[in-house]
């Protein structure tokens, strides 16, 4: 290689180096400082029992989809009592905490709660609210207890299910219900 070529090669290398430098000096100002808001996560579900008696069930998963195990609390229900049950959903990962219940109420035509009881548990459940089309929603329900006993209640919230599908609360979710699951939690129930 002659001298001329070497000079040009050096020049080309310098251009290359300069380009890399120029392009790598214009940042570091845009590093994120604020954590993003997790707006859609649901971290807690509370079932508030009122009417014939008072009880509270909570299912709290403080890290949302994270690996930490959830904290679940239940209280005993009285036998042969009718309760009005209201579901409250919160997102505590967002600052400030957001009440998701309102979102569900607003989009009631796209949501439905399902309640499945374990065999042998003497508990009747009925929807006490409906969406604008007259289909059940399930933010408010009535729980009527029978004889004393223990079992479980599984609460499921589906987004965009087939609304208007025939379903009796307490039974299994019909296979045509579809949708995607936003909530699926199981509580231990003790009727005294």
């Amino acid at each position: 290689m002659n001298n001329y070529s070497f000079k040009t090669l050096t020049l080309l290398l310098a251009v290359l180096a300069a380009m890399m430098l120029i392009t790598s000096c214009d940042n570091d100002d845009d590093a994120p400082t604020e954590p993003p808001n997790e707006e859609e996560v649901i971290t807690s579900l509370t079932m508030t029992f009122s009417g014939g008696g008072v009880a509270i069930f909570t299912w709290i998963d403080a890290d949302g989809e994270g690996p930490a195990a959830p904290v679940i609390t239940e209280q005993a229900l009285q036998a042969n009592t009718t309760y009005t049950v209201d579901i409250t959903l919160l997102n505590t990962l967002e600052m400030p905490a957001e009440n998701i219940t309102e979102e569900i109420a607003e989009e009631d035509d796209e949501h439905q709660f399902f309640f499945e009881t374990s065999a042998g548990l003497d508990l009747d459940i009925a929807y006490a609210d409906m969406d604008d089309d007259g289909n059940p929603l399930g933010l408010r329900t009535t729980f009527t207890t029978g004889a004393a006993g223990t079992g479980t209640v599984k609460v499921t919230l589906r987004h965009e299910p087939t609304k208007g599908i025939t379903y009796t609360p307490g039974g299994a979710i019909p296979s045509g219900a579809g949708g995607s699951t936003d909530i699926e939690v199981t509580f231990d129930v003790e009727i005294q």
């Binding site: 993003p36 989009e107 199981t186």
Partner: protein
């Protein structure tokens, strides 16, 4: 030296046949001439001019000249061969004087032939096994996603997320392990995602080349499994105006695709040429045999422009392109938790089977890719070529999900990736047989999360700097090529993410990696070639493998990276043995072995995670030692004149050596046969053909063992769900059934003076078979598309 290299590479007992030179009798005539390249008119040194009848041949000198003496009067055949060009056979009669005969060689561009010049002098080019998609096969796949077209080639499969989101798989590996080179520039388009299809316009290319061995020496460590080169045709040299137009209609999905390319040499300014090219695509929901695949539509708008100028020793080129696409993600694949997954899996038909035609709804992806490239080539001497390439790419990816609270118009993932690349390569021809290629490259990349999504980003903020240097050497004669190369890469990545509990974490990852390769190509007699290539490549983990954390929309699962991952090291051997038994039968076998230390892969956690959404699939990035072994076979048999039978087969075994089980997500074995009838001349029509193909895809029975569930050791929350857990494992570690597909194609070309019209009609899934493909992420939810008829018209002018 060559002996030493040869000893190192030849992994079998390969015997070199030396053609015994037979001395001629009293004949005294001389034949001489020059061998030049058809396109550039550059002399071709070390081409062989061979006379089969006499079993005698000579090589051209550095100026492409040859002389054959001691010839007798009479007819003979001359075969001119060079590793980089198509063989040229000429019948000639020695008339009793000293004659001149020149050869004009065309570059290789035919499948299963010898070697293709894919870019410039590409290290490993001669000894690598490779496939080229061009000509007729390319014509019948125009308008399909890039990877789907490549699927025609042996050993190339796809990984899919619905019919429009298709990514290439080379010998079982994909995404971060395949380097895609778009018009000479490394494509940087968030390729880590299994449902992130390459955003480039296949209509730009006249030829797609796939290197099936590690091409890390030249391209860096993301080419650990191979590389795909999307090469546009050469710029016009003299023609003031030419171009081509494509019009494609595909019945299933009512797809319409149009593409146009115009180019020309600017007469007043010698050496100046231009090209503009663009394509448009609209695709609606496709249909499986029994139902609509809701939300599988797509649309694309692409445009590119090139300006090139060449002087004697200088060539410069500026290329700019913009690619915009919007793709629907199969509605049936949108699930919430394992209950949904199992319900969906058990269902005969998905819940959503409406036909929304061209309307693309959520979940969907919207991607914009801008690219700007500048290239300068300079030949300071006859033997030196310096190439400087700079590239700028901006990739904006937005993914929209089905969301609550009126957020469906807000992207759930909004990424902005900017990449600068620069590369300087020096090719030096040392003498007639030695070539040296040396280069340096640099990359700066920044990934930004556009705020306001209301979702913690799966892929965090990062800045990445890398630099590499390589050198490779190649020794060529007409009958063998040896090559070897080494490379170093350094990559430094800084990243910041927030944990689920809003704590800021910052990371720095410095990685140093080395690559080396050695290979050879041998011509054993007139009809047999052998290639062997051994490549070692290291690939550092990508940011997604280190730091992803959260819900991956589109594939409905939680993905967790691992910050302790170390670079993976792969050693891949590829070999190829091709033989032409006689005029009518040729066969090629390409075996490969790929050993990995610390192979990085994503696998379902045996235990799904209990969240308020129920149990949710969790996928973890992890490392193991792995061995992938396989073979690609292909053969062509001309039964009688114009009737041809072509066969292809691909087999792959992939083992996790640590866990002693099969690896998840590897393509199943498959075999195919094509029967073709050609009509070389049919009235005014030329290149007319009709073909029918059958393909059988085996069931992937080599899936990982089901993890054992010991109820006693499981946390309490799982106790009520053991049955569901077992069903979940059987599903995600399972695979769909085998299937058979039949397809037919016909095509013809109508010459019209200086222009020509090419027509192709094809029908895929002719028997309207319902089937599911393991490599489609949505095989759990829906069938593949049913029968599909398409018509392609191409007008070149």
């Amino acid at each position: 030296m060559s002996q030493l290299i040869g000893w190192g590479i030849v992994l079998g007992n390969i015997i070199f046949h030396q053609l015994a030179a037979q001395s001629s009798s009293t004949c005294t005539y001389k034949l001489s001439g020059k061998v030049v390249a058809e396109a550039s008119h550059q002399p071709v040194s070390y081409a062989q001019v061979f006379i089969p009848e006499l079993k005698r041949g000579v090589f051209t000198d550095s100026l492409g000249n040859y002389v054959i003496d001691k010839l007798c009067r009479g007819p003979l055949t001359l075969v001119c061969t060079h590793v980089n060009f198509q063989n040229l056979e000429i019948s000639h009669t020695v008339d009793g004087s000293n004659q001149k005969l020149n050869f004009h060689l065309e570059k290789q561009s035919v499948m299963l032939e010898e070697v293709v010049i894919s870019e410039h002098k590409l290290p490993g080019d001669a000894s690598q096994t490779k496939e080229v998609l061009a000509g007729r096969i390319m014509a019948t796949t125009r308008g399909l996603p890039l990877a789907q077209a490549l699927q025609e080639l042996p050993g190339i499969r796809t990984i899919q997320a619905g019919p429009q989101v298709v990514k290439p798989v080379i010998h079982g590996l994909h995404s971060n392990r395949i380097h895609i080179r778009n018009n000479g520039l490394r494509q940087e388009d968030q390729q880590w995602g299994q449902e992130h299809a390459p955003v480039l316009d296949p209509f730009q290319a006249s030829r797609l080349t796939v290197l099936k061995g590690p091409a890390a020496i030249r391209y860096g460590n993301d080419a650990i499994a191979g590389a795909i080169l999307v090469n546009p045709p050469d710029m016009p040299e003299t023609d003031p105006f030419s171009g081509e137009a494509h019009l494609i209609g595909i019945a299933n999905g009512r797809q319409g695709i149009g593409a146009l390319r115009l180019e020309g040499a600017v007469k007043p300014v010698k050496g100046l040429s231009w090209r503009v090219q663009g394509s448009l695509k609209r695709a609606g929901d496709m249909r499986a045999p029994d139902y609509w695949l809701t939300n599988t539509g797509a649309q694309e708008e692409n445009i590119s422009a090139t300006l090139a100028y060449r002087r004697k020793r200088w060539q410069t080129e500026v290329f700019a392109s913009q690619f915009n696409t919007e793709m629907g993600i199969l509605r049936a694949g949108h699930i919430g938790n394992i209950t949904d997954l199992l319900e969906s899996f058990d269902r005969q038909q998905p819940q959503f089977t409406d036909n929304n035609e061209y309307e693309i709804m959520n979940p969907r992806q919207q991607v914009k890719h801008r690219l700007l490239k500048g290239r300068i080539n300079w030949q300071p001497t006859e033997n030196d070529d310096l190439q400087l390439i700079y590239g700028y790419q901006q990739n904006q990816r937005q993914e929209f999900d089905i969301r609550r609270g009126g957020r469906s118009d807000i992207p759930a993932l909004d990424l902005d990736l900017t990449t600068h690349t620069a590369e300087l390569v020096w090719e030096r021809t040392l003498n007639e047989s030695w070539e040296l290629v040396t280069g340096v490259s640099g990359l700066y990349q920044e990934n930004r999360n556009v705020p306001g999504t209301g979702v913690r980003p799966l892929l965090p903020f990062y800045d990445s700097y890398s630099g590499g240097a390589f050198t490779s050497i190649k020794w060529t004669t007409s009958k063998r090529v040896y090559e070897a190369g080494i490379r170093y890469d350094g990559r430094f990545t800084e990243s910041i993410r927030f944990t689920r509990l809003r704590v800021r974490e910052s990371f720095e990852f410095p990685f140093h990696t080395f690559s080396a390769s050695i290979g050879g190509w041998w011509k054993l007699g007139d009809n047999m070639n052998v290639r062997s290539h051994l490549g070692l490549a290291m690939r550092p983990p990508h940011v997604n493998e280190l730091l992803s954390e959260g819900l991956h929309h589109g594939v409905a699962r939680l993905e967790e990276g691992d910050t302790t991952l170390v670079p993976e090291t792969g050693i891949k051997w590829t070999g190829e043995w091709s033989i032409r038994l006689n005029q009518n039968f040729s066969f090629s076998a390409a075996p490969y072995l790929h050993y990995f230390q610390n192979f990085i892969f994503i696998t379902p956690d045996p235990l799904p995670r209990v969240t308020i959404r129920g149990t949710f699939p969790v996928y973890n990035y992890t490392q193991t030692d792995a061995l992938l072994a396989g073979v690609d076979l292909s053969g062509t048999w001309s039964i009688v004149q114009n009737w041809e039978l072509e066969g292809q087969a691909s087999f792959l075994r992939a083992r996790d050596l640590t866990k002693e089980q099969f690896l998840i997500g590897m393509p199943a074995d498959r075999i195919s046969a094509t029967l073709r009838r050609e009509f070389p001349k049919l009235g005014n029509l030329k290149q007319t053909f009709v073909q029918i193909r059958g393909q059988y895809v085996f069931e992937q029975i080599r899936t990982p063992d089901l993890p054992t569930i010991t109820p006693e050791t499981l946390p309490e929350v799982y106790q009520t769900q053991l049955d569901q857990l077992r069903a979940y494992q059987a599903t995600v570690f399972g695979a769909p059934n085998a299937y058979t597909l039949v397809q037919a194609e016909a095509g013809t070309t109508l010459p019209m003076g200086t222009s020509e019209l090419q027509f192709t009609v094809s029908c895929t899934n002719l028997l309207n078979t319902s089937y599911r493909e393991y490599m489609n992420a949505f095989w759990l939810y829906a069938d593949e598309p049913g029968r599909n008829v398409s018509l392609r018209i191409r007008w070149t002018f």
